[in-house]
């Protein structure tokens, strides 16, 4: 039987980005906080040090920083008519594991969503009329506005020290920034990163077509910075090992570099690693949580009573935690009823490869995960969609993230897939190719959802999460459109061969896109179509908050971490200033 531990005020299920921020802040108010992290303790020193961290095979290919799917996998199918089978290896995406979570191995791209994203259905119907949006897309408003989130975006960017150039400060468009972005209250905390060659080539090509290039917003820092927590970050050295790696230089914002050291100094904060939370416990009414049950690394089971439970795991694991804890009504894709598992979305990525002659030396390995140049002209609703037959879009960028050759060895169309022709093409093109990214929005549709697998179990005997996903036709049409635009930029960049590869159905779980899984425990103002209210509080169990990209009703054209950070501070504000003063539902059902 589980040993019952001494009660605490707050427990966080997971100590990644969201758990670290909330744990630190709530412990600072004098509450007793326990952070439960399933993976190991790890820190910049000694765990992320050079040269061992620059090991592509271990980290990028064997995925040493990713959730251990020997113990805990997920199942996948393209549609509800198929039998889901385990994703036996992580190939399509990489859920993090260990202290700091996926915010250790992220690239550092720190975007804001557009003001229109938060009032998505209202905005699109207002601009294009009812009936413009495909009827199978279950998009809806978020219940929060950009203006409400702006101070929290700002706080998160200043926590990270994000490098960039503002394009809009308090409604005034700024030269050199993104003219399409929502208004910011002030400039980025640090100046833009240096522009690598691939970024400069892209800038020139994009400008020649009348587009609006600007430096990619990067939490891999352009200059030394001390954040409001008093923690210092170094200047990024463009080593080319961000994505799938941890930063050795204290130059990439991560929980370890920007917030955890403060939490760990506070005696009211206790971190426990190696602790796998099995479920959030409920009392006999089913409307109040009494804490959580977890198993430690040695296999011992504990009950940790807590007044407030914050589910702060990776987005997909947040949803699984709700389902395994029987919190909220599971979504049924046949009837469209229920909320937990609803509006699962991902990202719609595509690429255009720009092949140059050998006198153009790109040096793709001189990079950070977030360095480069980008245009926002075809993202979200920044362009008129009338007559195009789709909604959404993509930012288009030259952000190459490094030239690690097991995974990066581009060859032009028509190259043999192995043998002498392949080898010579790799040697010929490796250092003379720029790959442009189209980072496309992903819209929820009725059949795309998350639930518990009826067959497959994890090492603790609990059902795996079942992911059902394919690209909506809307998103396939969008991908063709934006990829064409990227090909046009590639030609303007002077590429001798430009090869575009738009995203097509079916979604293939063996091909990496991003780790930007969203939805499943979405926020909103209607408890029949959302699992959490606008403050990320469970509609059903008010002393449970579910924090992360699981709250997104759709996924926008941008990397999601900036919005995860903003929503975390938004939820924190509601917990600190409203919930703790009068525990209970912050929005009446």
């Amino acid at each position: 039987m589980a040993e019952r531990l001494k009660a605490v005020d707050v427990v966080t299920v997971g100590v990644g980005l969201t758990g670290a921020i909330l744990g630190k802040e709530l412990a600072a108010t004098g509450l007793k906080v326990v952070g439960l992290e399933r993976g190991p303790m790890r820190d910049t020193v000694p765990d992320f040090q050079s040269p061992a961290i620059h090991d592509e095979l271990r980290y990028a290919v064997r995925k040493a920083l990713t959730q251990d799917n020997v113990k805990e996998a997920m199942t996948f199918r393209n549609s509800t008519g198929q039998t889901a089978l385990p994703m036996r290896r992580w190939q399509g995406f990489m859920p993090g594991n260990g202290l700091g979570g996926a915010a250790v191995h992220w690239n550092g791209l720190t975007w804001r969503f557009q003001p229109a994203d938060f009032v998505y259905r209202t905005h699109l119907e207002g601009r294009y009329g009812k009936g413009f949006v495909d009827s199978d897309l279950t998009i809806q408003d978020w219940g929060v506005t950009y203006a409400e989130l702006e101070p929290h975006y700002d706080r998160f960017e200043y926590l990270c020290g994000t490098s960039g150039k503002a394009g809009n400060i308090k409604g005034v468009v700024q030269a050199g920034g993104n003219p399409f972005e929502g208004p910011r209250s002030r400039e980025y905390p640090t100046r833009p990163m240096k522009e690598p060659y691939y970024g400069a080539l892209f800038r020139k090509g994009a400008e020649s077509l009348g587009y609006h290039p600007f430096p990619s917003p990067a939490s891999t820092l352009s200059e030394p910075y001390t954040n409001p927590e008093g923690l210092s970050l170094h200047q990024c050295v463009f080593c080319g090992f961000c994505e799938r790696f941890a930063c050795e230089h204290f130059a990439k914002a991560s929980p370890q570099t920007v917030i955890l050291p403060v939490a760990l100094k506070n005696p009211d904060y206790e971190l426990r690693t190696g602790c796998q939370v099995l479920r959030v416990n409920l009392d006999s009414t089913g409307k109040k949580s009494t804490g959580v049950t977890y198993v430690d690394a040695a296999g011992r089971e504990y009950e940790q009573p807590a007044e407030l439970v914050l589910i702060t795991a990776y987005s997909l694991n947040n949803v699984r935690m709700l389902l395994n804890s029987r919190i909220g009504k599971p979504y049924d894709p046949v009837t469209g009823e229920g909320v937990v598992g609803r509006n699962y979305a991902f990202q719609t990525m595509s690429y255009a490869s720009v092949f140059y002659d050998q006198d153009v030396v790109i040096n793709p390995f001189m990079a950070s995960g977030a360095s480069g140049t980008v245009i926002d002209d075809f993202a979200g609703d920044n362009f008129d969609h009338k007559g195009l037959g789709f909604i959404g879009g993509a930012y288009i960028s030259a952000t190459m993230t490094g030239g690690r050759p097991i995974e990066f060895h581009p060859t032009p169309p028509g190259t043999p897939s192995w043998g002498l022709g392949w080898k010579q093409a790799v040697a010929r093109h490796y250092n003379h190719t720029v790959v442009l990214t189209c980072h496309g929005s992903s819209h929820p549709m009725r059949g795309n959802c998350l639930d518990l697998d009826p067959t497959y179990k994890d090492a603790w005997g609990q059902p795996l999460l079942r992911v059902t996903f394919d690209f909506p036709q809307n998103d396939v049409r969008m991908s063709r459109y934006v990829t064409d635009k990227a090909v046009g930029i590639g030609r303007a960049m002077g590429g001798k061969i430009v090869a575009g590869a738009p995203r097509e159905r079916p979604y293939d779980s063996t091909i990496y896109q991003t780790t930007h899984n969203t939805g499943g425990a979405i926020m909103g103002n209607d408890p029949t179509t959302s699992a959490v209210n606008r403050y990320l509080q469970s509609w059903d169990v008010p002393n449970v908050f579910v924090v992360g990209a699981s709250a997104y009703p759709h996924n926008a054209s941008y990397n999601p971490t900036g919005t995860v950070g903003a929503l975390t501070y938004w939820a924190l504000d509601a917990i600190k200033n409203r919930y703790l003063k009068a525990p209970g539902a912050l929005v009446p059902r």
Binding site: A52, N363, W418, Y430
Partner: protein, 242 residues
């Protein structure tokens, strides 16, 4: 085009880069002659398997007049050590049943670990070709390519392993071994990195990232180089080639 000197990097980027460079002086690496190849010590593959793998590597990533191929780069050794270790035993592979074939978009669905998969498929290939009369290693290059293409097309069942699934593993392994750090026993003398111009595990390009189009004309560096430019292969993974 500018040239990146060691002093530039040390001066520009401070302690972290200097520490990395202290163990990897490029002059030493560049001047050092490649050590003569010795026979690979195989820990996993048996004699029949070695004959197939070595011959297949010579076709998958062949040598040419400019650059060695996968075999010369020690990739057979890399694959042998990977299959003999945690990866071969199913590291990071969800192994619970039930087992059933899926769609291509659902990925690998066989109960075999990588070690079991190679052993099973290679035994079936050896048996089939013995019956047909010519082992793979004795075929002409053209015949070998045609046989590899037939595996890739997925026509055969190799003891329960569809031949296209085996081919996918047979192709992933040399790409990994050719381009991974030489500490794992392939990419000998960082020859694959030299071929493409990847500098390896350097710590910093801060001072040169905005010198657009520069040619970085220095030898690559490994995770395991000492101050004499020697790559020390992990002792528990005997590479057998040094």
């Amino acid at each position: 085009m500018s040239r990146l000197s060691r002093r530039d990097v040390v001066t520009a980027t401070g302690a972290a880069a200097a520490a990395a460079l202290a163990i990897a002086p490029p002059e030493a690496a560049a001047q050092q002659a490649p050590p003569a190849a010795q026979p690979t010590v195989y820990l996993f593959f048996n004699t029949d398997e070695v004959a197939f793998i070595e011959a297949a590597l010579s076709r998958l990533i062949p040598a040419d007049d400019q650059w060695p191929g996968a075999l010369e780069a020690g990739v057979a050794n890399f694959i042998d050590k990977e299959l003999n270790g945690a990866w071969g035993a199913g590291e990071r592979l969800y192994r619970s049943g039930p087992w059933q074939p899926g769609t291509p978009s659902q990925g690998y669905q066989l109960p075999f670990t990588p070690a079991e998969l190679f052993r099973t498929a290679l035994a079936a290939i050896t048996k089939e070709l013995a019956r047909a009369g010519t082992p793979f290693a004795k075929m002409s290059g053209e015949q070998q390519d045609a046989y590899l293409r037939s595996l890739e097309a997925g026509a055969a069942d190799l003891g329960g392993v569809p031949s296209d699934v085996f081919f996918a593993h047979l192709w992933d392994a040399p790409v990994e071994g050719f381009f991974s750090d030489p500490v794992y026993g392939g990419n000998r003398d960082m020859m694959a990195w030299k071929m493409i111009g990847f500098p390896g595990a350097y710590a910093s390009y801060y001072e040169v990232v905005d010198q657009h189009g520069m040619k970085l004309d220095r030898a690559p560096t490994s995770l395991a180089e000492d101050s004499h430019g020697h790559v020390h292969v992990q002792p528990v993974i005997p590479a057998g080639q040094r």
